[in-house]
């Protein structure tokens, strides 16, 4: 069975500070990892996926298979980054995504 762990319920930083939202997973096969974000009063939406290796809104995440981690990072947080962030895993060879979510981390960026 797969599991996604986000150890922090809440992360509070000041504008301009670096941010790292932690995500660890357990899965015996090859995973695909995603970060989804939910801004206030908006729907859950994809932020980035590890397979794309891109930076979205200044966020990056690197899959570390040795540490089974997929931490989300941003060097300088902005107030508009305040949101709920969910890490999610899907088996790589499933053909289509079937997601297992972590419990989420609320990021609050203060001015």
């Amino acid at each position: 069975a797969q599991r996604v762990t986000q150890p922090e319920k809440l992360l509070s930083v000041f504008k301009g500070a670096p941010v790292e939202l932690k995500c660890n997973y357990s899965y015996s096969g090859s995973p695909e990892l995603f970060w989804y974000v939910q801004y206030s009063r908006q729907r859950l939406q994809l932020l980035l996926r590890h397979i794309s290796r891109e930076s979205i809104k200044g966020f990056t995440a690197d899959l570390n298979k040795g540490e089974t981690s997929f931490h989300l990072k941003k060097p300088f947080a902005q107030e508009e980054d305040s949101a709920m962030y969910y890490c999610a895993l899907s088996p790589m060879n499933s053909g289509y995504s079937t997601l297992t979510f972590g419990k989420g981390t609320m990021l609050l960026v203060s001015p």
Partner: protein, 113 residues
Amino acid sequence: DAMVIQNPRYQVTQFGKPVTLSCSQTLNHNVMYWYQQKSSQAPKLLFHYYDKDFNNEADTPDNFQSRRPNTSFCFLDIRSPGLGDAAMYLCATSPGHGNQPQHFGDGTRLSIL
């Protein structure tokens, strides 16, 4: 704008009274999913359809059922809601190939009186 639409946004029902939540999509995606999300918890997959093929998660209670009459619509039926079924219910879709990301609706918040 192509999207996933859930109706209603808020649903109130009585203990034991059947309730149906609906989801429609204009993305023409093959896969439709239903998740349950309780307060401060992760969204939990209940079941999904790949086209007309139904896939139930092992721990989804029998009280929860789903119908997909066509590509665009998918329904979540709760036969006899209990107090523990109060939650946000999220519908999502994905193309069905290449492990593409899922697209979510706004959710329906279900309350049980």
